[in-house]
């Protein structure tokens, strides 16, 4: 325990219960803990109030309870350049981006990690539900024990070198246990509601938010056969597999988004959840990151997730040139969405991930998906 006091751990604190408990656990383990709040987005309203003010105030209260120093750091510019610009570009391209993956890659575990190191930190800790295993000179990313909360999906772009400087103090806990620890220790954030949605949008209406940055171009909703079913508000507001908000009434099964035609500004819809048009049997993905590249073979089988909180599916991965992969599914998959991450697992080990680019069915690129 006494050795830990010479190990400085910077904890990324959001003002939520998870990072509060992460800091508490590290403090209990005797580390030299420093709490830092990251401000990535300015949502100051006309009265000068921003949610970051409230959140930072919670960080302050928790850090004072734990008797650790606290600071904040501003990455608004970096976030805008690296995450938000990507986010908008992907929507412009008709895809469904994953800003959390990008934020982890570019901000939390890059700009913020650099900042932590500049403060003499030995490790950066966050409240993510994930684990790092250091064994035989290998550093591995392991799923969090809580199946419902496991966040390795969002961490798939981290490198081994980065993970080696990271601690996830909550990885071995279930969310209810984390709440319980917070309550038992009377932490100021013990009963604070978990944040939902994308961090910079918060609780706001997504459509309204996006329309502030991208011009919406309404157009037609058609079946793949060309039958007009109604109007859409702008392609960017829809994602593959979506059912809500289409406004197509009438008899029969509900309607779903199956694809987009950016050029013609048409949203493709088809009827019924299990519609064949929503299914595919392979994909290609770009920007592959292998956490331990040396263990990856040219072609191998493993499991994969195509969305957060989805069950794993069995796949065969073929490594292609230019940092790309092809992923063949053992069973057809529904609503594979370009722009989202495909993340690979070998049992509990997260191998890495990539960005879904093209969706394939019977060896044909499904043009209507994107």
């Amino acid at each position: 325990m006494n050795d830990n006091k010479n190990i400085r751990v910077v904890v990324g604190m959001s003002g939520g219960v998870d990072s509060s408990v992460a800091a508490l656990l590290l403090k209990e383990q005797g580390y030299d803990v420093v709490g830092i709040f990251m401000k990535n987005w300015d949502d100051t309203d006309e009265f000068g109030v921003c949610t970051a003010t409230e959140d930072f105030d919670d960080v302050v209260r928790v850090c004072n309870q734990l008797d650790i120093p606290y600071y904040s750091v501003n990455f608004e510019k970096e976030y805008w350049d690296k995450v938000f610009t990507y986010f908008l570009d992907e929507y412009k391209a008709g895809r469904t981006p994953n800003p959390d993956v990008m934020c982890n890659k570019e901000i939390k575990f890059k700009a913020f990690l650099d900042h932590a190191i500049s403060l003499g930190a030995d490790y950066l800790a966050t409240g993510h539900y994930a684990q790092v295993r250091r064994e035989d000179g290998r550093v591995e990313l392991i799923r969090g024990v809580d199946e419902n909360k496991d966040q390795t999906y969002f961490l798939n772009q981290l490198s081994k070198d980065v993970l080696d400087k990271v601690m996830f103090p909550l990885g071995h806990l279930n969310k209810p246990e984390v709440r319980e620890i917070a309550l038992k220790n009377n932490l100021a954030t013990a009963t604070k509601k978990d944040s939902t949605g994308i961090c910079f949008i918060g609780e706001r209406n997504f459509k309204e938010f996006l329309s502030e940055y991208l011009p919406a171009q309404p157009g037609e909703m058609q079946t793949l056969a060309g039958e007009v079913k109604g109007r859409h508000d702008g392609l960017m507001y829809y994602t593959i597999g979506q059912r809500q908000g289409l406004g197509i009434g009438g008899a029969g099964d509900p309607w779903f988004v199956v694809g987009k035609n950016l050029k013609e500004n048409v949203l493709y819809v088809e009827q019924s959840y299990a519609n064949d048009k929503l299914y595919s049997d392979a994909l290609t993905a770009t920007d592959v990151n292998w956490i331990n590249p040396e263990v990856v073979k040219e072609k191998f089988t493993c499991t994969a997730k195509f969305r957060y909180r989805q069950k794993d599916s069995k796949v065969t991965v073929t490594v292609l040139e230019d940092n790309k992969v092809r992923v063949d599914f053992d069973n057809p998959e529904r609503a594979i969405t370009p722009g989202q991450a495909v993340v690979f697992y070998d049992g509990e080990v997260c191998l890495g991930g990539a960005t879904i680019d093209k969706v394939i069915k019977e060896e044909q690129h499904l043009e209507y998906v994107g």
């Binding site: 420093v34 830092i36 709040f37 401000k39 000068g48 921003c50 970051a52 003010t53 959140d55 930072f56 960080v59 302050v60 120093p69 606290y70 600071y71 904040s72 750091v73 501003n74 900042h115 500049s118 403060l119 003499g120």
Partner: protein, 380 residues
């Protein structure tokens, strides 16, 4: 690691004599100064003495001293109270872009309720231009508010010259003298200022108390309503212990001003000298010959404020920069932006060090060594 305090412009340690005086008041004098009995009179007597001392410290009349909860409230009364009371004479106010937020945000508020405000620029020296002031003056100008010493750079404004310019004009002249009071000799008549703000905790007094000087001839509308304390300009039972503590601090500073200036100037010189001996790059912001002894503002190229301040604190050194935003994140300094332009790196790589009673020759040198080490690490 021993902590070193280089943030006296933020606040100062309370002097032992001040604390003792306050404890005595708390223990022995609890009366309300407005009460018509012996308890009240005892408190009132202390209040009167404190007011007399405060008045004499700036060569004013005791009827011109209004105790407030501190510099911010005094600035608010000076600006809003004067603007509202003199609206019949005009609608125009002049201030500068480098004021403390207690003035700047108050001026913005006045704009929001219909006043017209001109913000004078400052040059790289940190000083305003008297020419620009003269050009900005209008027939309907009712108030000019220009701070005496800037809290970030320590640069002194030409208050006496401004006073002469305004002498023949209807506009009242307010100066926020929070950083000047105690270190510069202030005579409101010689300076020809009509309103002046001070604060106790910058001169080793308690927090939560300050005073506004307002010349007898200046109409000032009260902003708080209630009892008739402070000649009806500031309702609410007086904070007697704090006011007595403040007057003790004033008494001490009157005796020690020269000595303190000499000491703080020496600390500054030793500190800067040590930094020069270390192998780091830095520049001093603001015209040094017009800067008070206690403050130095230093730009460290290639760094950023958050990183430096956090590192300084983790190595036991307390300093600061421009005003912190509410989320704890440091925004670019509006003072340095006014001096160097918004996109100048100085606005995000400058640190204010301010010297005072918590310093010794040894600890300022030690601080400079630790700072140099950090800067070297961050810039390599």
């Amino acid at each position: 690691m021993k902590e070193i305090y280089l943030d006296h412009a933020a606040t100062t340690p309370i002097a032992a004599e001040v604390a003792n005086e306050m404890i005595t008041v708390y223990q022995e004098v609890f009366g309300n100064p407005s009460s018509v009995h012996s308890y009240g009179r005892k408190a009132r007597k202390m209040l009167d003495e404190a007011r007399r001392l405060a008045a004499s410290s700036i060569n004013a009349n005791e009827k011109e001293i209004y105790f407030t909860s501190g510099g911010t409230e005094a600035d608010n009364i000076a600006l809003i109270g004067t603007a509202l009371a003199n609206r019949d004479k005009g609608n125009h106010i002049i201030t500068t872009a480098q004021e403390h937020h207690a003035v700047l945000h108050t001026a913005e508020y006045l704009e929001s309720i219909g006043f017209d405000v001109t913000y004078l620029s400052v040059s790289e020296t940190g000083r305003i231009s008297l020419d620009e002031l003269e050009k900005a003056l209008r027939e309907d100008t009712i108030l000019v508010s220009i701070m005496y010493v800037n809290n970030e750079t320590g640069v002194i404004q030409p208050i006496e010259e401004i006073g002469s310019i305004l002498k023949e004009h209807q506009a009242y002249f307010h100066t926020d003298a929070v950083q000047a009071y105690g270190l510069l000799e202030i005579d409101v008549n010689a300076l020809q200022v009509d309103l002046l703000t001070t604060s106790a905790h910058k001169i080793n007094g308690p927090k939560g108390v300050g005073f506004l000087y307002a010349h007898e001839s200046v109409p000032v509308q009260n902003l708080s309503f209630g009892g008739e304390q402070e000649r009806k300009r500031r309702a609410g039972t007086e904070n007697v212990a704090a006011i007595v503590g403040f007057s003790k601090a004033i008494e001490l500073v009157k005796l020690e001003r020269e000595e303190r200036n000499k000491q703080y100037q020496l600390y500054k010189e030793l500190f800067v000298q040590q930094l020069r001996e270390e192998d780091i790059e830095f520049t001093l912001n603001g015209e040094q010959e017009n800067t008070i002894s206690a403050i130095v503002n230093i730009s460290f190229p290639g760094t950023n404020v958050e990183q430096v301040l956090t590192n300084l604190d983790l190595s036991g050194i307390a300093a600061s920069s421009g005003s912190a935003c509410t989320a704890g994140s440091v925004e670019p300094s509006h003072v340095l932006s006014a001096m160097f332009g918004e996109n100048n790196p100085c606005t995000t790589n400058s640190i204010r060090f301010s010297f005072g009673s918590a310093n010794t020759k040894e600890n300022v040198i030690e601080a400079a060594k630790r700072i140099a080490k950090i800067i070297r690490r961050l810039t390599n």
